[in-house]
Each structure stands twice: as C-alpha cells, then as structure tokens.
Amino acid sequence: MSNAKDDDAVAGPVPVAPVPNAPTESGPVLAADGTPLKRSLSRALRRQKGRALLLVAPLLIFVLVTFIIPIGSMLFRSVENDIVSNTLPYTVQRLASWEAESGNLPSEDVYKAMYDDLFVAAEAKRHTRLGSRLNYEQTGISSLFRQSGRGVDDLAGDAADALEDAVPAFGEGETWYALMDAGSGEGNTTLLSNMRDRIGRLNDSAASAEMDFVPSAEIAAVLPRTARTYTEWAVYTVTEDERNPAERDPWELVSLALLEELPTADLSGLSAERAALLQQAQAVDFNVPSYRETLAEIDEEWGTVTPWETIQTHSSKYTAGYFLNAIDAQKTPDGYEWQPEEKQILLTLFGRTLFMSLMITGSCILLGYPVAWLLANLPAYKANLLMILVLLPFWTSLLVRTSAWKVMLQSQGVINDVLVWIGLVDDANRLVMINNQFGTIVAMTHILLPFMILPMYSVMQTVPPSYLRAAKSLGATNWTAFWRVYFPQSVPGIGAGSILVFILSIGYYITPEIVGGTSGVFISNRIAYHISSSLNWGLAAALGTILLAVVLVLYWCYDRIVGIDNVKLG
C-alpha cells in the first residue's frame, strides 16, 4: 500500500522537502539521506559495537558461566530452604493451620501426613538430610529423624502382612498394578504429574523418565490416599530404581493406606474386577492405630510440641535462618534470640577477622610507606633493584612463603633459637609466635606488603619533588614539609593500597590456616570448614554473603570519604 501513502502525501498540502543537514526550526537533525541523524549514527555504530561485543563474547561467557553464575547460586544457598517443604510436603501443608502458641499437639491429620512423608522420605533416604538441616536450628532433631526413619515401616509392614495373609494376590506386584493402573479406563494424569513433581523435588532432580503407568481415575476417586501413595511409589520406582512397577511389590505404605481406606470406601462405582478384589480385602481385619501414638512410640519426641514447632518455623521456602546463624542468632518458635553462649563463635570470628585485617593493613602502611617513598625518590637504577626485591615475593609460591614463616616463628624456629643463643630469652620460656594472632599478622603482612607498596609507589611517583622544595623554601622544616605537603598528596596511594590489602586479607584463607592455630584463624577458615567438613553450605553461603557485604560497605564508605576517583593504581 505504499502507493496510496505517496498519493496521500501529494494530495495534502505539499510539504517543503527538508534540506538535509539544514538546521530545521524544530525536530531532529537529519542525515544526508533524510533519516534522523541519531538513528543514522546508532546504525553506523551498531556494526562496530556488534564486532566489539563479538570479540569480548568468549571472555564474557566464560566469566558468566564460571564465575558469576556459580557465585550467584552459592549466595542463593544462604536463603534457600525448600528442603523442608520438599521432603515433608503434606505435613507442611497441614501444619500451616496449627497454632503452636496453643500448646496443643497437632491434629491426628498432621501425624498421618507426617507418617506418609516420613515413610517416603525414608524409602528415598532423604530423611537424614532433612534431620541435619533442622538440626542447625534445634539440636537433637537429626537423631529424631534418623530414629523415625528406622521405625516408620513397622506399622506399614504389619498392614502389608495382614493384607497378604488374607488375600495372597496382594503379594504380587501385578495384582497391584492391575488394580491401580488406568489400563483402558480413564486415567488421572493430574495426579501422575503432581506425583512426578513431588518425587522430583524430593530427589532434587526432575523425574523425567518415560513411564507407562497412569493411575486409574476411578480408584483415585474412591481410594485417594492409596492411589496417591501407589503413584508416588510407581514414579519413584521408575525414575530412581529404573524398574517396571508392574513387576515389583509396592511400598507397604500402600497396603496400610488401602486397609485404612477400604472400610469406609464405596466400591459401587468401580469396575467389577476391581470391586471383587477390593471386597476380599475389605474383609481383612486390621485395626489402624492412632498415628500420633505410632510416632510417639517410635520416638517420644513426637509426643511433644518441640519438633512440630521447629518444622513449622522453618517450613517456608526461604529462610533467614542461615544469616541468623551466621551472626550467632537463631529463629525459634518464640521469635529471634541469641544462640546459647557456648555456640557463639561467628561474631567473635567476624570481629577478629576485621581486627586482624586492620592490623595487617596498618602494619603494611607503616612498613610499605618508607619503601614506596624510597622507590619513588631513588635514582632509576637503584629503584629498579629495589623494585625487584619488592616483587620477589610474587615469584615465590604462597605456600612456600607461609611455610617459611612457620620455620622462622615456631618455638624451635630460627628466631627463638637466635634469641635463646643471645640470651635474651630463656630456653624454657621460648616465645610463642606461631599458631596465634601474632603469627598470622606477621606472615600476612609480609605476604600482602607488595600490594600496599605498588599503589603507593605509583602515586608517589606523580608527586613532583618541587613541592617539597617549595614547602622548604616557604620556611617549612623537613617534617612539616613532609606532613603538610607530601603526605596529603600520597594519601590516595595509601587508600588504594589499604583497600587492596584489607579486601585481600579479610578473605584470606591459606596463611591463617597454616600459621593461625585456633586463635589466629579468619572467618574464611570457618567458611571453608562449613563447605568441606560440616557440609552446612547454607551457613557457609550466608557467611560469605556477609563478608561480601562488609567489603562492599567499606568500599562505599571509602568512596564517600576519600573518593574512588582518587585511587590510583598506576
């Protein structure tokens, strides 16, 4: 329809053709071909930008995949808490309406849901994991879960035995499959996909395996719990065991559910074969006890409010629990409170990390400033030699340097030996210089010193010596000239070096680990412990996040006070 458009233009008042590049009174500046200059420019630049992006793309992708995404997911672990609702989905759902303040135990319904959840979790061997998670919040709960996992199949086993004794056909997997599978009848696909989802979340993996089984809609309507537990089992068997459910006996939990539901079930809507089979089973005399009593029998803890409160408190998908733990606090059913005295360690560690990092930064400034000054003011050939000495540590392995300090500082080490030999120190009272804060500060000051000297040096290089001369000619003594004129101009270098050294030392790991002993370790050593030994990754992530936040806050403060533009690294 472009012709019509042109016609319109001609038909209307003939517009004066805009002269390209002529400054029009209003509207955008036009390029030679009549397109707006801005668009024309951006089009011209797009190609360039595209090419530049293409060049950096490999690095960008590499950094994204190997650095940003892993760090992001690690930080996310500090608030992630879906293990409770994934492992105990029905319990969490029913427990939501329970009021812990009332002091009453939860209803039988909750106990029943807990029994089902525990049974499945124990079969999938996920209950101990949940136990460890909740144990961070309430000590002792992990043994409750371990205990319960062992005892939970007793009742269901009895039920299965009773059913099989009465109707031997239920000892065959095929019987069950025929009963539960939709076959040619109507299937309940919603139930199936829900259960696939549930088992997937329980196992932290998508249950994507192909399966033929579809729960029968009529059975699901008449015997909902039986159908549900059987479907859970079927999905689990296919995805985790990779076996055909038709050839396997289902969990005993299914028998228990069936026996519990049958007496009140209305079998009239079922197909004749199913009804016949179930009528036989209806005759089984099995007295289903109270689930509350059953669980309390396994572990009497279940008969108290405590575990329920804990589960309810920590059942949400996201938690501040790890962060609270990271600052020695915890969320209890009664609100937030400090951890018991003997468990409080992390705040002290944070404080120590900050204190020692400040000490290290301070000693680096004191030791590095004169060296940087010399570097900046010596003649070139001497300065080069000195620079090599400054850089020498960079060419030596960090581990070697740290170990060397161990050799130097230990009680039978070089320094102590010399002091004893001189007679300054008694042989019996050798100085303790390692495996404490002193050792860490000495070794780390040495290791981080170049990071302080180099930025200072690069800033001092830019301060012309004529400033000092001017100050002296104006009547300032050497000290005044230095303090009032030279020092203020070297502050950006001190700032840059301090930021570098402080940030490096606040997250340092190897050196404190080797020379720090117990009193000289940093928060990073605690993070490493939680990552590799206690496997409490959530807490490790929370500690790491706090560390990152502290560094960012300090950085921000520095920017406000000194100005990041003043930082010169070269």
């Binding site: 012309p464 004529s466 100050a471 002296k472 000619s473 009547g475």
Partner: protein, 366 residues
C-alpha cells in the same frame, strides 16, 4: 685581600664551585655580588649552570667549594627553610590539596603568625597580583597565568628580602608572558626586593633585569646591564647568544687608539673596536648588530670604510624590513631597517654598499 664584597653587597658568591659527580664542574669559580634591591637575571643555555647556582642559593644544593653569603653572613650551612628566601618554581609548585588562601597561609603558619595578621597579609599579597577573588579556589581550577600569579604571591607573602625565580614564565604563552614580565618587574621594584631570576629566554632577561649574568659552561661570560650586554658584548658567545648578530671572520691587521683594522676573509678592510683581541695577526670574529648596519652613505662618518653587498632576500615583517645580503663571502648577513615612509624596499639582485660606525663593530675572539 681580593675580597669582592662591598658594604652594599647583599647576595655574594665567592669562588663557588659545584660538582655532582666529582669529575666535572657544573659551576666553575663563580664570583657574583648583588646589591640590595637589584633584579638580576641568570641567562644561559640549558646545562650552563644557572639553575644550579639558584639551587645553591636556595639551599637545595650545597656548594662543593666556596662561600655564599646573604646579607654578609655565610649561608652555606643554613638549611633552606631558615634562609627566608622566597622562591617561584617553573611548574608553580602550588600545593594541589590546598586552596589558594591555604597555599598563601602556609609560609605564615610555619612562621607562627597570628590568624588576623595572616589574613591581612594574604589579602595584601593577593591584591598585589590582582587575585583576591580566587582565594577559595584550588590551584587546578586556575589557568597557568593565574597559577603563576598565586605562586608569586605565595613567594612574597612572608615578605622575604630575596626572591628566587626559576624560569617562572616558561610554561606560558607569549602574550601572557609579556604581561607577567612587566608585572613581576614592577612588583619587585615597588617592594624593593632583591630578585634572582633564571631564564633561558634572552628577551625576558633584557626586558626585566637591572643586570644580566650570561652563563655558559659553568662560568659567567658577562655580567652587565641589558643595554651593555646587547651593545657591548664582551666575547663572541655573548654576542651570539644575545639578540641577532652578523658575524664576519677576519684577521687583525692593526690595533691603535682603541680601534682595530680587520681584514676580512674576503680581503676587505674594516674598522672595529677591539674587545678581547690584543695582537696583530690574531683571528677574529667581527660582530655587527643588523639594525646598526647603514646603507645610506650620507649617514656614515666621512672616510668610513664600506663593503659591497648584494641583496639576496627582502622580507617584509611589518614594523621592520629584514634584508638578507651577501657580504664578504657570507650569505647570512642580515640588516634590519625600520618601516619608515622614506625607507627603500630593496629588490633581490640589487648591488648596494653598506657601512657602520666603527664602535658598533666589535672584534671578538674567533
């Protein structure tokens, strides 16, 4: 006793030598005496030792040998901050982390001068350089000329009797330089301060100074007021270094009564003033200023010797004409004539005759 110091001498260098490496002397046997209130410029090519002399006076370098006296007392062992000498640096050396007012307050603060007095002095010093409106600015917010004014004010604010300036106008453009030259000279004379000024710009030296010391190779080649320096250079270095100069090589034929007859290499004979030539037969470099060359025979003394010249190039420069000639075998002989209404504009190829007053023609060392 060969003591050059007089009662009037304020700054004195006596037999001062300076060596950095123990092999070469940067300053060789320097003797200099300055009365109070003088504006003395040390002029010379780079590496001639002028800045070293200034630094020795300021106290940033120590003399290897000799004595430097200020107001009659030797200052060799006085540290720079106790000498009370104001100094202006080439790169201004204004403290970038202080405002203009703080920069000026610095020398007063270290002298423990009270706040009210301090403010008054700062105000006065800034007034001297017309920079009172800029007291709150930082040096980086000022232009080069403004920075130099502040540097000057800072060197003057504590009222030193002696101010040293180390190529203070080197980084400025020509126009600004000329304005500041004028201002600095006036200020120095108004305040009655003694100034030692170092530069390698001869125009600056000539226009500003009471006396100029021309440095070369660690020695003062000539120490004289600007007019003498220009008109009566004492050796060929000074003659070459200061202003434009025509030189002709020749040999002394005769010396008598303060005049010498020089036979140029082309064979022509000319009259000249013997300056540092003594013997007949000595090689000499004859120097004549371009503006002292006369091509109008009527203006020459009767009997004055003239030379034939061929016009090679005529350059119109506005206020003057610059004509390049071939004279006595040299193609680089230049004459300058004023752009006066009756002044002839020569065309290349013209043959003319040129001459000069004998006292304008100086026979110097070869």
């Amino acid at each position: 006793m060969a003591n050059t110091s007089t009662d009037a001498a304020f700054v004195e260098f006596e037999r001062v030598q300076k060596s950095y490496d123990g092999v070469n002397l940067v300053v060789k046997d320097l003797n200099l005496s300055m009365p109070r209130g003088e504006f003395l410029t040390m002029l010379g090519p780079s590496g001639s030792g002028k800045t070293t002399c200034l630094m020795m006076l300021a106290g940033f370098e120590t003399a290897t040998h000799g004595d430097i006296r200020l107001g009659g007392t030797s200052i060799n062992n006085i540290p720079p901050h106790k000498r009370g000498i104001g100094m202006v640096f080439q790169n201004y050396a204004l403290f970038p982390h202080m405002t203009v007012a703080e920069n000026l307050a610095f020398p007063l603060e270290v002298r423990k001068i009270g706040k009210s007095q301090r403010e008054e002095k700062i105000h006065r010093a800034l007034g001297m350089v017309q920079m009172n409106d800029f007291a709150g600015r930082r040096p980086t917010q000022l232009s080069g000329g403004q920075q130099q004014r502040i540097a000057l004010a800072r060197a003057l604010v504590f009222e030193p009797e002696l101010v040293l300036m180390d190529e203070p106008l080197g980084a400025l453009d020509k126009q600004l330089r000329e304005t500041l030259q004028f201002e600095i000279t006036n200020l120095a004379h108004d305040l009655g301060i003694t100034v030692v000024y170092v530069t390698h710009d001869q125009t600056e030296a000539l226009t500003m100074s009471d006396r100029v010391a021309v440095f070369e190779n660690g020695r003062i080649q000539q120490l004289a007021p600007p007019d003498q320096l220009y008109e009566k250079p004492e050796n060929s270095f000074v003659a070459q270094f200061i202003g434009e100069n025509n030189t002709l090589m020749g040999e002394i034929k005769e010396i008598s009564n303060g005049t010498a007859v020089v036979q140029l290499d082309g064979g022509d004979l000319i009259d000249a003033v013997p300056v540092n030539v003594t013997k007949v037969g000595e090689r000499t470099r004859v120097s004549i200023r371009p503006e002292r060359v006369e091509m109008n025979k009527d203006r020459l003394m009767p009997g004055a010797k003239t030379l034939k010249a061929e016009v090679l190039e005529f350059i119109y420069m506005g206020d003057i004409f610059r004509t390049r000639l071939r004279v006595a075998g040299s193609d680089e002989f230049v004459i300058k004539t004023r752009n006066a209404p009756d002044q002839e504009r020569l065309t290349p190829g013209t043959q003319i005759e040129i001459g000069w007053l004998p006292e304008d023609c100086r026979a110097l060392d070869a």
